[in-house]
Structure formats: C-alpha cells, structure tokens
C-alpha cells in the first residue's frame, strides 16, 4: 500500500487497541529519524508531562519545608529555660555563634555539634548573635526578637532574610547597636527603610546587597534616616556617571596598551 505510513497508524490502533492506546494516536507525524534510543527517554517523559510536573512540584515543596523545619520555634525550651537559652539553642542549631554577656563566643564545631553547657545561663542575657550564612527566615526570627538586650546582630549572607524580616527588627530598637546585612541577596532598599526605628544603632553594614537598585543613593538616604549611625556600605560615588572631562581622561589612559 503506497499510502503514507502515518495514516496507517490513524486507523490501526482503534481496531487493535494499539500498544500505547489512545495516546499513541497523537504521534502520527513522527519523522523516521526519531527512532533513536536517546529520543525515546525524552518522549517517555514528555508523554507523562503532568506526572513529571507533579514530581517536580513535590521536590520543590520538600525543599521549602526543609527551611521551615529549620526555623521551627522551640516552645518547650523557651518555656523551660527562658528566651535567652531558646534563642541561643536556635542559633547554634542553625550553625551560627552566640555570645552571652560576660562570656566568650560559642559556636558549633565543624560537624555542627555544640555543647549544651550554656543551659545554665538562664538569667544571663544574650549580647551578640552571629547568624552569618544561616537559613534563618521570617518565622525563625521570632526566637531572636525576644532578646531585649541584644547589642549586635550579624545576618551576613543569609539567603532567606528579606524585607519582611527587616520590618520585624523594630522590636530590638531598645538595645541594638550594631547590625550587619552584608551580602543578603533578598534585602532591598525597601526593607532598609524600616530600619529607622533602630535609633540606637551605631554601626550598620549594608555593603554588597545585590537587590538594592542604586547602592550609592540608598546609602545617602539611609545616612539621612539614621543620623547617629555609621553606615558602611557602597561608596557614595559608585552610582554616579563620569563627567565628559573625566570620561575622556579615562579613555586616554586606557588606549596605550
């Protein structure tokens, strides 16, 4: 029969209930070259698009729930031992460091293990927290906001600290003197605007914030907002364009190889 091969497929599977059933009918115009082995795996996945999609959504949800699990609140510890111990336990579990008043810095060792001897410092307030690189988020910040004598907080390079988290920091306004947000990928100038509550702040580090649209201008505005604070961050001239004389000077310098 000289009819095209594709059209044969249209008719046969109905009668024989073909190997792939109804779904096989839509592949009527498959060119000859697609019979290679590698192609069939992709074709297999493409046939089951919604199943693959559901699997990927499940994996995404699992990732998110992992972060949630890390940021759960330790209510038992808080009730038994008080907010300082609960906060210290939370920070140490995340991989950060904590300093009680009059004590040395405590941090977990390379394997993430730490001693529980700070459980005796129930009445000693926490003075400084270094949560650099921890997966702390909006929920987890609950544990830290109960520390009314916290003087120094470092949230450098925390991937889940965003503008919403910054809007909660006003609760530490009474004591916080040093804050570092360097390298947080989700903090933008909109979150920095909420820091005006922290009137006791003396050192603020806002360098290397990729989400801030104009670092130089933001630095000026934050300095205006917090007059008593020493703001470290971008050089104010960073965002400025060169004037015509300076531009030609630069090109003149760069031409000789």
């Amino acid at each position: 029969m000289a009819a095209p091969k594709a059209s044969l497929h249209l008719v046969a599977p109905i009668w024989k209930g073909g190997p792939r059933g109804i779904r096989g009918l839509s592949r009527t115009v498959a060119p000859e070259g697609n019979q290679r082995k590698g192609r069939t795996v992709l074709q297999f996945l493409a046939d089951r698009f919604y199943d693959v999609q559901a699997l990927r959504e499940y994996l995404l949800r699992k990732q998110v729930s992992k972060v949630h699990q890390k940021n759960r609140s330790f209510t038992y510890v808080k009730e038994q031992y008080g907010p300082y111990i609960a906060a210290a336990y939370f920070v140490l579990k995340q991989g950060g460091a904590v300093k009680f008043q009059g004590q040395e810095w405590m941090r977990p060792n390379g394997r993430g293990r730490f001693s529980l001897e700070f459980f005796k410092f129930q009445a000693v307030p926490v003075e400084a927290v270094d949560a650099s690189g921890c997966a702390i988020n909006y929920q987890g910040l609950d544990n830290l906001l109960a520390l009314k004598e916290l003087q120094s907080l470092s949230l450098q390079r925390c991937p889940h600290v965003d503008d919403w988290c910054l809007s909660r920091l006003y609760q530490l306004a009474g004591s916080l003197q040093e804050l570092s947000l360097a390298g947080c990928p989700q903090v933008s100038e909109r979150g920095l605007a909420c820091l005006h509550h922290l009137q006791n702040l003396r050192r603020l580090d806002i360098s290397d914030l990729p989400a801030v649209s104009n670092p130089g201008l933001t630095q000026i505005l934050v300095e205006e907002m917090l007059p008593n604070c020493n703001v470290l961050g971008a050089d104010w001239a960073q965002g400025l364009k060169l004037g015509p004389e300076e531009q030609s000077q630069d090109t003149a310098r760069s031409i000789p190889a």
Binding site: A2, S7, R23, L25, V64, C194, H197
Partner: protein, 631 residues
C-alpha cells in the same frame, strides 16, 4: 445512524466548504461500502462493524443530544476514525462524482484509479482504502451505482460546477484542509469537524468567573487549590480586556493595611498579608522565576483630628485584638519621629509597625495568572452578554412563595466579533469589579418591585478616582509611611528619587455632584490644585514646592450602600456568587476573599473567616456594615 445525520448535515449546510461535505459524503460512501472485514455494502442505514466500535454521530455545532460527550476517548477515537475515512474518502468522492455517474463501473474504476495520485493498488480499491476491496459481480456493481446516484443527489447542494472533479480544484489545499480537520478531531482537539472552534471557550464549564482581575483570579486559584481531587473542577475565567487597561487592579496605588474598624476587614487583611509574604510558596510554578512583589513594609500613618480621636482609639483597640501591630502616637511623638509633619490640628495618630505598606499589584496579578494557568484554569477573551436561566416557584417554610432562579448558560461574546459561545455552567462568580452592577442586571437581579428582595439591585457602580505623581526634592525621607490625613488626602513615597504618589478620597459627606464622571478615565488636573495640594501642603510644609510629573485615573467598584465588599451567593439567583464592591480596598483583601468564596462554593459556608455580614441579603434587610474611619 451515521449516514443519516451526515447526509442531513450535508444537506443542511450547502454553503459549507466543499471539502467538508465531500469528506462527510465520502465517509458515508465508505461506510456504505463496508470495511475490509465486511464486503456487503448492506443497508444504507445500518452500521458497519467498524462503526459499531463506537463511532458516534457527528453533531452539528449547537446540538447537545449526543450519545457520547465530546471529551470522552470514545468520541475522540471514533471521530478520529471517521476522520481517517474522510481523508481517504475524499479522493473517492471526487472520483465518484466526477466519473461514476456517467460511465459504467468497470470503466469508471479504471478512470478513478488513474485520476488519483499514487494510491493505486493491485486490488483496485474504489475509495483508496484497502478496507474496501472491490469484489462481486454485476449485481454488486449495479447496487453500488444506485448508491452512488443517491450519493450524488446528496452532493447537489454544492453546486453543479464543482462536480466534475477537474484539475482546476486546489488539490493540495484540500488535502491540507483535511489534515487540519483530522488534527482537530484527534484526542485533545475539539470535537467539531465542521469549523474551527479553537478560539471559543469550551461548551461546558463547572464554574464561570466573570472578570479576570485580582479578585476573579484569586477565586480561581483557591477553587483549584481547595478542590478535593486534582482536576475535579473546571474553571473558566472570562475577561474582556486582557490588557487590563481599565481594570482597577493595575491602576491601584497598591497599599495594604490592617487599620480598619471591622474585625472581618482586619482578618481579611491579615491573611492577605500572610499570603503576600509567602507568595513564592503559594504561587510557585516549576521553572518560572520567583515573584518580586516590591513590597515596602513602611506602614500606614493615619492622622486624626479632635473629632476622630475617640473613634481612632477604639479602632486601634479592635485592631490589636485581632492581632494587628498598630501603635498610637501623640503629636509630640509624631514630631520626634517624623520631623517633616506639621502636627497642627492632629490630636492622635495611629501607626502600623508591621505587615503594612504597599506593593506592586501588577506583579500579583501576573503571578496569579501564571499559577492559575498552570493549575488548569481556562481563560477566555470575551464578554458576557447574556445569562440563560430557569425559574422555580417554591414555598418557604412559612408558606411564602419565592421564585428561585438558576443560571444554566452564560453567553460569551468574542472580542470584536458577533460570534458568541453559550457555556453551560453550574456556578457563576461575579468578580467584574466596577461593572458588577451590569452583570448582576443581566442575571435579573433587581428586576422587581422596589422594596422587595427581587427588586434589590446590586449597589455597585464605578467611581473614578485620580492619582497624581509628583516630585519634591526636599520631601520626606526614606522612612515615610503611607500617610492618610484627616482631611482625606493621602500620599506615599515612590522609589528612591523623592517622587510621591497621592490624591484625595472624597469623603462620604461630599455632595454627589462632585463625583467625577465615570464614563472615561481622563484626569482632571484642576482637582489636584483645588482639593489635594492645599491639604498636602498644610500637613507637610515641604510639599509647598512640588512639581506634578504625571497622573492617572482608575475606578473604584464603589458600593453605594456601605462601601464594603459583597461576598457570597445571591438569595434568589442561587448559583451566582459575588466577590466585588470593595470600594478601594479590594486589592488588599483579594487573596482572603478568594479563599472565602471558594470555601462557600465548595463547602457551602465560610470556614476560616466568617464573612456572613458581607452577604447580599444585607441590602434588602438594610443592615449596613460600615467602617468607622475618619475618612
């Protein structure tokens, strides 16, 4: 059965494309002749064995009496089978009508074989399908000739000129047409072989949402999220302007606050802010970038004069009870915190510390749209022009007679065309924003003697509001919240460059004549000069020198009864649900309202936030739920 209706179809629409009719006629021709498994042509009206495998009759577009529903695999498989016959039968049809009538069959067969391109076999098929071998003697030949004559009469409607099967016909074009028709009847395509309906909405949908703005999409999202089984509910969103040029969502200033006086409003806002905070978990789509709402958590600052101070204190108490983080400030504290405010005339101020601010509503809309499409909601670019409903007279428990209406069909008219599609539906959601009143009138709400429940209209109408963008070099700094003055003027910062957005809300006390004409979205710049600037300059002295950069206007879906939303079903039109009338705070409550309406539709009652005070029946009973705000 197949042949009767196909012949009927052929006769009914003589003006149709020749290929279509030929295909149908040829299909019937092949069917008459039988398949490879049966050689007897049999009775014209009997089903052949192939057809008995479940080929349904081809339905004309509007008919609904089909044995098999269009979406089922049986129909698809059967139609597909039919279509295949059509393709091969096509060649036969031309051959048949061209030659079969004049010449005796033996000669005709030879000519048929020669006229076809390529598809000639040793057996010498008539129709080009190996399923129809020509066997039998002269009796068979005579029978077939008679049948062909009958077939020929059926094709008369196409016009005499096209019978001859000349080579002047566009052969390649016809073949590609036929291939397209096959594609459309394959599984997944619409079961409509006569013309292309891919641009029309589906013929059936469980829920039809009128209006594709943030409220409509929020209802669609929650319906799909709260359904008991994946794919249980079919949702269709009908939006007549996909550019959203007049929709309130895109033109909104984008603020969100919890500083209301009604506990329900506060709870709605609280959940909505929680939704926005976790938006990348709610609206996550695999492979798409996360949403950046550009939320400014700067808070709201409401200023009250002497008259409104007591109300404000009360409001703050209620807000704190519900869990909002709001604090009261005296004029001295205000001056300390915000030195650029002139506190003359201010007795009290309430300042939202957390969970309040403003964001980009367009981003929320696009995020919802993308997620909702990935969940399987269908979109239609069209306008709802009619509802077909049925009425039932029923008696209440106390013996009164009530007429309950049920909407059966929604007529969706396509954009810039007179074509419309009746969509059968079970539930209609009115989320049409400023035009919800018109949609309610289409459903017959308000058609009755005034003062009765039938005569109670939906009191939502469009009201135009202006927004102005100005630049003030010495204006308030980065910490500026969304300030709402006691006079009704409001402003907020926009961006880093000392630009500000603001306007004035006409208070309820202002007379009706001052309302701008909602017929268009033209901006009245005099309004800024007369009504907005004086109040702004009085409150913030730095605003005495400012330069207006641009302005726009948008609609409030203004509820003239009590300026709060209408949520839930209508008492008489039992399957129309409202999600509209929020009079300027719809955007900030949209996620929570969407969830409430979805719960109402799926469970029958509000599960999380009790919005019973916002039902439609309050318009008839006269129970106003009004905000005791100072604006």
């Amino acid at each position: 059965m197949v042949k009767k209706s196909s012949m009927a179809a052929a006769g009914k629409e003589p003006g149709r494309a020749p290929g279509t009719q030929a295909a149908i006629a040829a299909a019937s021709c092949c069917a008459k002749r039988g398949t490879r498994h049966t050689s007897s042509p049999g009775n014209q009206l009997s089903r052949t064995s192939a057809q008995s495998r479940g080929v349904p009759s081809p339905t004309p577009p509007r008919a609904r009496r089909t044995d098999v529903t269009p979406g089922s695999p049986m129909a698809a498989g059967g139609g597909h089978g039919r279509g295949s016959w059509g393709s091969h039968g096509e060649t036969a049809a031309y051959g048949a009508e061209g030659r079969g009538l004049e010449a005796p069959l033996a000669n005709g067969r030879a000519r048929l074989n020669n006229s076809r391109r390529g598809a000639v076999t040793a057996e010498g098929t008539v129709c080009g399908i190996e399923c129809c071998p020509r066997r039998g003697g002269p009796q068979r030949a005579m029978l077939r000739r008679a049948l062909r004559l009958g077939l020929g009469r059926g094709l008369l409607g196409r016009g005499l000129g096209t019978w001859r099967g000349d080579s002047t016909l566009d052969w390649d074009g016809k073949v590609s047409d036929i291939k397209k028709k096959i594609q459309s009847v394959l599984p997944g395509g619409a079961w409509n072989p006569l013309y292309d309906t891919s641009h029309l909405p589906p013929e059936h949908s469980d829920v039809v949402i009128v209006g594709g703005g943030v409220l409509g999409l929020s209802v669609a999202y929650w319906l799909k999220r709260l359904e008991k089984r994946r794919g249980a509910i079919q949702v269709l969103v009908v939006e007549r302007d996909y550019t959203y040029s007049q929709a309130s969502t895109g033109l909104s200033v984008g603020g969100i606050r919890q500083q209301f006086s009604l506990p329900e409003n506060i709870q709605l806002s609280l959940f909505s802010v929680d939704f926005l905070r976790n938006i990348n978990e709610y609206l996550a789509v695999v492979d798409d970038p996360p949403l950046d709402l550009q939320f400014n958590p700067s808070g709201y600052l409401l200023l009250a004069s002497e008259k409104g101070a007591a109300i404000m204190e009360n409001n703050v108490k209620v807000q704190r009870q519900e869990g909002a983080k709001v604090c009261l400030m005296s004029p001295e504290q205000l001056r300390n915190k915000f030195p650029w405010i002139n506190t003359e005339g201010v007795a009290l101020a309430s300042y939202g510390l957390e969970d309040e601010g403003w964001f980009d509503p367009w981003c929320l809309l696009q995020g919802l749209r993308r997620k909702v499409q990935s969940m399987g909601v269908l979109f239609c670019h069209g306008e709802v022009t009619r509802f077909i409903s049925s009425s039932n007279r029923m008696e209440t428990a106390s013996g009164e007679e009530v007429t309950l209406k049920r909407i059966h069909e929604v007529h969706v008219k396509m954009d810039r065309s007179l074509e419309y599609q009746p969509v059968e539906c079970a539930i209609v959601i009115n989320a049409a924003g400023a035009w919800s009143g018109q949609i309610a009138e289409l459903a017959g709400i308000g058609k009755g003697p005034p003062g009765t429940l039938q005569g109670t209209k939906l009191p939502v109408e469009p009201r135009k509001r202006y927004v102005y963008l100005w630049h003030c070099p010495q204006g308030p700094g980065l910490e500026t919240p969304f300030v709402i003055d006691s006079s009704g003027a409001y402003f907020r910062r926009e961006g880093l460059g000392n630009n500000y957005l603001g306007s004035c809300s006409p208070t309820e006390l202002s007379p009706q004549e001052e309302e701008p004409d909602p017929g268009n979205l033209e901006v009245d710049h005099g309004f800024f000069q007369d009504k907005v600037w004086p109040h702004l300059a009085q409150r913030v002295p730095a605003f005495e020198t400012l330069k207006v950069r641009s302005a726009w206007a948008g609609y409030y879906d203004y509820n003239t009864f009590d300026q709060n939303g209408v949520v839930g079903p209508h008492p008489l039109v039992v399957n129309m649900y409202f999600a509209t009338g929020f009079s300027g705070h719809g955007l900030q409550q949209a996620p929570a309202v969407g969830r409430a309406v979805a719960e109402m539709v799926l469970e029958g009652s509000f599960q999380t936030i009790d919005l019973n005070p916002f039902l439609f029946s309050r318009f008839y009973l006269g129970e106003k739920v009004q905000e005791h705000n100072i604006i």
